[in-house]
Each structure stands twice: as C-alpha cells, then as structure tokens.
Symmetry: C2
C-alpha cells in the first residue's frame, strides 16, 4: 500500500468551505477553477487539489488542499499579492462558511 | 507543480479528532500508531496518512486520511471487523471530539 506521508517540516494546508451557489452550478465550478488557477500560480504552492465535500456529517461543500515545504513558504503564500487579492476579491465576497486545517507529520 | 487529484469514483475519507492526552505524549502516539497499524491492515485502504493538526483556527489535534477506490470499498471498510473493533474498543473510549470529511474530485 502506497503511503503519502508528509516530510519533516512540510505543512499540508486545507480549507473546507461553503458557497452560496447550487451544487454543480457554473458559478460554483467557476469559483473552484479560478481558485485553482490563481493559487497554483503562487510558486510555493505544491500538490494543490480542489475537492467536493460529500460527507453528510458536515455542512461544507468544497475543499482546497496544498502543501508547503516549510513555515516560511506558508508565510510567503499568505502574504503573496495573488493570495491576498483572491481573499479580498473572491473569498470574502462568496464563501459563506469555512474551516481551516493544517497538518504536519505526527512524530 | 505536481497535482495529486483524485480519480473519478475515488473517495478521500478524512477524520480530524481530539484525544484526552497531552500533545506528544506516549498515549497519544500509541493511539496514532495503533490506528495506523489496524486501519492500514484493511485491504481496501489506500494512501493512509496520520497527522498532527496544528492550525490554531480549530480545536482538533490529529487527523487520519485514506483513499477508497469506490463507494463499495468505503462500505467494505466501514463494515470490516477490524474497523468495527477499532471504533468500539479505541475510538469511542478515547476520542473526545471529531469531524469527518469526505472528498471527491470536484468536476
């Protein structure tokens, strides 16, 4: 069985979120595709994934996941103008609820 | 940039959770290692990962992640005696809070 463990120092940053659009709608797909395009354009972002969230045990509809090699790259991402613009112009205007999760290797 | 997208039909099952033990304690590490050993022994489980959760924006401390090739394998996992025993004997006795997340490819 293939194991995909994070390396020492790597951080997997995830966010699960809701949009105010019908599931599968063009507006929802556009948000996911724009987010993917904008965030994957930031050089420190590795292994970006977009998801739909399908568990009935929580209310979130979508997810983004990415890996940073270290905390400095995570900070670079947070402060990158394209990330800041995405948060201001799209995230704050469209996302209605979200939860951030950050993973590191456990031991 | 490497992309790690899920294939059509695959489900990434994640759970983030809290334990009643100090972070980094032997009891916490034992729970993570026992869970990893028991759950990776179930043949339908792919790409299993254990994590510590480090974002201050939520209260969960750890995570497990795995991928199933399809819904039938997810059901096989849920009903597998080793999973059922782990839930009864360990999860229900030790985990104090948790959130389940299931991801599929978005479109």
């Amino acid at each position: 069985m293939k194991k995909m463990d994070l390396k020492e120092g790597e951080i997997q940053h995830m966010v699960i979120f809701k949009l105010p659009y019908p599931l599968g709608s063009d507006k929802a797909e556009k948000f996911l595709k724009d987010g993917t395009r904008i965030l994957t354009g930031i050089p420190v972002v590795k292994e970006f994934q977009a998801f739909k969230q399908v568990s009935p045990k929580n209310d979130f509809q979508y997810g983004f996941s990415m890996v940073f090699s270290n905390q400095a790259n995570y900070t670079t991402y947070n402060e990158h103008p394209d990330h800041v613009a995405f948060v201001e112009d799209r995230w704050k205007k469209e996302v209605t609820d979200f939860l951030e999760i950050d993973f590191k290797k456990p031991y």
